[in-house]
Symmetry: C2
Subunit: 458 residues, 2 copies
């Protein structure tokens, strides 16, 4: 069997009963975290644009909920809109070593299809785990050279979504392999948009979730795909990576649960900023410094941070500011947390811009070598008094070694839900309760009641 | 201005009045040719699968016709299904130097949107020309190294469709550039499926047409894309080609009409087989040989022919047979033409398989150097009598230098329309008349009446 066949068979055969309890619980955590991220996308122009087109070009009703509007549509378009929404606020989860944001592609597709097919909470959990395990391994397989040009969450996300949806469609091993083929040959997403702060990031997740869903539906209907879309001589590895790592594709399947390695985002910014932000917070707390005391901050980073954040020197939008190392460190220094509210209220302020310009990035061999398996944060802080302090964080807040508690996740979800005015407090409470008891549902519920938003927030 | 900006501005500003009459006429020819190719896709399993999903996941009604079923839906799904249908029978057109099949991605998107917006025949023509001119130049820009791994019609087709739809949406230069950005970052399609004779070819065109359409609609709604998706350091050229040719992007815009360089397909097979098939027919006619006289045929080909056709040694399906050099030459030798009926009736016959096994491919430096600008056909035929003949064709039938007449195009269209039982003879006649008078329509018509197929062919 090829590695791709082994991986497809794993996804096709994974049952809820095989999944350790702590993995199930963590899946619930990640799902709740995703729900908050999706709600926070409400009102964002690119997200609303995608929703408008989904409702213009797709069905105006259906069995699946669009979280930001409480509208309903077909699974394809619910997946599309919820995926776009959940990748806007830079609050969705990230798996370190694959540099994949799994939640924003797996859950929109799986949740829509579970609703469309009336699957149980347990089946939804198993499908989501399949999506995470597949996506993470494919991301690790394609590696750093892929991520240099391609937005892994867009490309690999297509396969992750296909695996999750394929599980819910109860594809057999052969069909799942076809689904992988049809997903991989649709895989797309280039980083070029980042320099222009263009809206492609949400398009990538929208299309990854919906294209992966389409691939699995096609496979269920007998549509065939390439048998080795990952390692074949004209496959993804050959065309979209300079150095693949085939062993990663099947790395300890069923023993290593890669899902639990996924990090929650504490700051509402690009994950590449988090290690340095936390290292700076460490220095400020330890040395009892305030932002005004600081002359310069040198962040010691991995190459990908320079690649992704380097072009952003003078952020023009909130979204771009989330990719500005200096802005993120300025907000963290000032408010202890660079959250959605901190960005909205302060990212343009003179004070923040001044601090931003004190921050630089330098490539650090130790950090770069450890990346992407570990995201180490290191800063050197020079004070106006001429003192020099160094800070270091081995597990940024939200990483598996420093994860968020259920109370912290509930707080984050409530903050994000209210931030986008997507739901009332009691509705969010109700959704939280639904997620914590998801495995009890013989048929997955709606997370939010299908009501006109105007009656709640008009 | 960057090359991409110049190209986007050209697409945004192209008006019907600027297009020479012979280019308009040729566009009508290509559109009719596409219509026949689309009808021929009716009943093909992969095409019907895509239609089934389009109607399950998309709207069940709308302003746009699905040619193979006479159903109506939204422009997104009409584009998707018509694109899938028109790339099945291997009868759709090809532009040589870009190795792009423009019709199958440009016309489905443009026709659907022209119907949705009620645009005139002239606007539809101008939009289609924009799609061809953009797509061909982007294909030439990405070049041979791109085509080695990526199915150019899938990847570049996304931009071609976006340009055509953008024209119909009357995007300005800035919006068109955003549409290009959103199209390019969705561009996908890997050749890996070919080894397995999988169904991805139709998925590629379906997604190119619909994704390009989506990109243009998003741009019309203010959604932004990368400003240099083609030449940017993390754009298509950087990620998906080993050697680009930037000058090709803006090659004599408005002077060179690349559309008229497009070839019609005479044989119903992969275009890489056509030069050798015609060269063989040349030998057979000249020397008055019959297939039974032949011991071996050596075809002297370009490398891409070996790449695409080489893996197909024992075709298992009609579609795969269209990528078998030996099968195509066998059918051409036996019947003078490897058309849809010849494939259906004979591709599996012992006699055809025996001839097939007499055919080999060798790389020819002259042919390879001329490719892809020119597709030269050269064969060496050895007879059972021990004689050796060589055949050569500089312009395979259907090439601009040896194009099909309107009478031949009408005949091809009728053959393909009846082949798929997609329409009655008088309906096809009516559609042909509509295409020849397209520029007279203030609002584009339907090509086929919206009636239940059962009443015609039940």
């Amino acid at each position: 069997m090829t590695n791709t066949e082994i991986l497809a068979a794993f996804a096709a055969n994974l049952k809820y009963e095989q999944i350790p309890t702590e993995v199930v619980r963590r899946t619930e955590d990640l799902f709740l975290d995703w729900f908050g991220a999706a709600l926070a996308g409400r009102g964002a122009r690119p997200v609303e644009s995608i929703q408008k087109l989904a409702l213009d070009l797709g069905p105006q009703s259906g069995p699946c909920e669009i979280l930001i509007s409480r509208r309903s549509t077909s699974p394809l378009f619910a997946a599309m809109v919820n995926a776009a929404a959940s990748h806007f606020a830079e609050q969705d989860d990230l798996h370190n070593s694959s540099v994949l944001h799994p939640a924003t592609v797996v859950f929109p597709a799986a949740w829509a299809v579970a609703q469309a097919l009336g699957r149980s909470g347990k089946e939804f959990i198993a499908a989501s785990v399949a999506g995470y395990e597949v996506g993470i391994r494919v991301g690790e397989f394609l590696g750093r050279s892929h991520y240099k040009i391609f937005h892994t969450t867009g490309t690999v996300g297509t396969l992750a979504a296909a695996a999750a949806v394929g599980s819910l469609l109860r594809l057999d091993e052969v069909q799942m392999l076809h689904a992988f083929g049809s997903a991989g040959t649709q895989a797309a997403g280039l980083w070029e948009f980042l320099r222009d702060a263009a809206d492609s990031k949400q398009l990538h997740t929208a299309k990854a979730a919906s294209n992966g869903l389409l691939a699995a539906y096609l496979a269920a209907d007998g549509f065939t795909g390439a048998q080795d879309i990952l390692e074949g001589v004209k496959g993804m590895g050959a065309g979209m990576s300079a150095q693949t790592d085939p062993q990663k594709l099947v790395d300890r399947l069923g023993e290593r649960w890669a899902l639990v390695e996924t990090s929650f985002k504490f700051h509402a910014s690009c994950r590449h900023t988090h290690p340095a932000a936390d290292a700076l917070l460490d220095v400020l707390r330890r040395e009892k410094l305030s932002p005004g005391d600081i002359e310069t901050v040198v962040t010691h980073v991995h190459q990908a941070a320079i690649d992704v954040l380097g072009p952003v020197t003078d952020p023009k939008t909130i979204h771009q500011a989330k990719f500005s190392m200096g802005t993120v460190l300025a907000l963290a220094a000032e408010y202890g947390h660079a959250g959605v509210h901190e960005f909205d209220a302060h990212y343009r302020e003179q004070r923040i811009a001044q601090f931003r310009d004190k921050v630089s990035m330098v490539l650090d061999p130790e950090v770069d070598t450890a990346y992407p398996a570990r995201w180490i944060g290191k800063v050197t802080v020079q004070t106006k008094d001429g003192e020099t302090f160094t800070g270091r964080i081995d597990d940024p807040k939200g990483d598996p070694g420093n994860t968020l508690s259920r109370a912290e996740l509930e707080h984050k979800t409530m903050t994000l839900g209210l931030y986008g005015h997507a739901a009332a407090e009691e509705e969010i409470q109700h959704a939280i309760a639904s997620v914590w008891s998801l495995t009890d549902y013989p048929v997955v519920p709606r997370l939010l009641p299908e009501v006109s938003l105007e009656s709640h927030h008009g």
